[in-house]
Symmetry: C2
Subunit: 331 residues, 2 copies
Amino acid sequence: MDPTEVNIPDVKDMNIDNITKNTILINSQGPNARVKYLFERLVTHLHDFARETRLSTTEWKTALDFLVSVGQISSDVRHEFILLSDILGLSLLVDAIDHPKLPSSTEGSVLGPFHSHEAETIESGKDISSDPNGETCLVICTVKNPSGAPIEGVKIDIWETDSSGHYDVQYSEREGPDGRCVMKSDKDGNFWFKAIVPVSYPIPHDGPVGQLLKLLHRHPWRPAHMHFMFEKEGWDHLITALYITPDPYLTSDAVFGVKDSLIVSLGKVSAIQAAEYGVPEGTALITHDFVLVSDKETQSLRDQNALKAVADLFPGKKMKLLDHLPVPDVD
Amino acid sequence: MDPTEVNIPDVKDMNIDNITKNTILINSQGPNARVKYLFERLVTHLHDFARETRLSTTEWKTALDFLVSVGQISSDVRHEFILLSDILGLSLLVDAIDHPKLPSSTEGSVLGPFHSHEAETIESGKDISSDPNGETCLVICTVKNPSGAPIEGVKIDIWETDSSGHYDVQYSEREGPDGRCVMKSDKDGNFWFKAIVPVSYPIPHDGPVGQLLKLLHRHPWRPAHMHFMFEKEGWDHLITALYITPDPYLTSDAVFGVKDSLIVSLGKVSAIQAAEYGVPEGTALITHDFVLVSDKETQSLRDQNALKAVADLFPGKKMKLLDHLPVPDVD
């Protein structure tokens, strides 16, 4: 940006009391109301954090060095900043804000850093895991609308770890995707596949996020779960997971993902199911009925929640929605 | 951390309203009161930011990808997170908190990302710049206490760009330090050296911070300046700079460093000075008297400011200082 093109407020003699107001002013020269609002709130909170803690230069430098290391360990298959957001409860919060759920809908859970777009599209019945040490598990599901009508043609991403608690992308010498697939629901909303019984596992803790968990005296474990993501035009994008009970980490998930409504017990395949699905009787079984709500309903609920929240948070301040996201109403 | 070793509050069914309280609880298992307080405030502000902006999943992901790129462009000689902190006004704020100045003291300014510990120690009189295109500048300074008594043996780091506005560390094929040095003040508090007249320059804007400045319609320029850092046991560490007037960016420094008391005019070397310092008459001249205050006085002012600030910010909450930094007083 050519400095002669921009109209800048005078900033000189900044101190503890005037730096925030002036940083916000200098950040407010662009035309995008949402960008301005985001940076006004960001700078306010960042500065208030420093003022309230009287952040020392040493602590500030330690934090900035930590953030560099979080960026540097990240790669195409490891997003350490997502992991950091997960353990600080931010991922759960953002999902809850962006995908409010009507009581009829399946609840959401955290995406985590291990979803991959590299996954085979399979027909119902296939086995998604090649792990010889995993315990086979039959998974039989439906996807329906809140009235119970099936939704056909929903794209479903499914992913889980192997029996040692590692996702395929965590192996540097893997041959291809494993423990994950993409499916489509049939005309009755059904999809079913073979997998392995999910196991609890620690999130990657050999990097900066692991060091932070140690500093905070927290463990890195997640309870056993299987990830599901549902996409179909007209329906709200659902990122969720099923958690297996019993598990020692159901009440202390390192990334805050567990919801009671998403906890399932492992069943056993009956003789009739064994014949129908072509697996031995007594095989471990997960069944679940997922419920999607329409984009429109979610959008309307999100708008309503956003306006109510900012009205409660900033009484007396006029706010409006711009592309469904709040900004100050300065007209 | 072995999960059986820690006593974890139950976290399940997290939502917009309970995630903050529970994240703070789970982060509060360690013994260090300062760590607990820092993360309590951090999580509170991070979550409030998301709640107040109704941060969307897309915005969240854009921000996390941006932070990865800030980490990845960083290196031994480029700390892009310091640069990010600089342009968001955080660096100025932290310095102001950590190094409060008595009215008698020289004011501080931002360190910036280009200080290097690799610099030659020189005697007064040497030339710190080898740039043939720079305009020679004689710099004559003193360092004294608030009563005007000289301080001997202060270690002084000095650094500036070359005439093209680049620090030595920005050249990948440099032969050694240039445009920087370390000096000691003599028994009269004097130190003097030859350098080049500082020029205005843009902070590095070929990376993520440059993209952010563009998004915010901000220019990347800093007014011409020379950095000084003063260290001696018993005296408060002073990081500052002298800014040269006139300069088009004195009121719009991209990193908020300019203070009126640090602005100097270029003089011209007189015939007497020319003979004394061995430079041609009429050479550009900077003179400045720096004033240091004792560690003890600064510590006492910092403690006093910290207690007053948290009392004002959190009326009714009992706070105390731990190693001179505020924490809740829970005894």
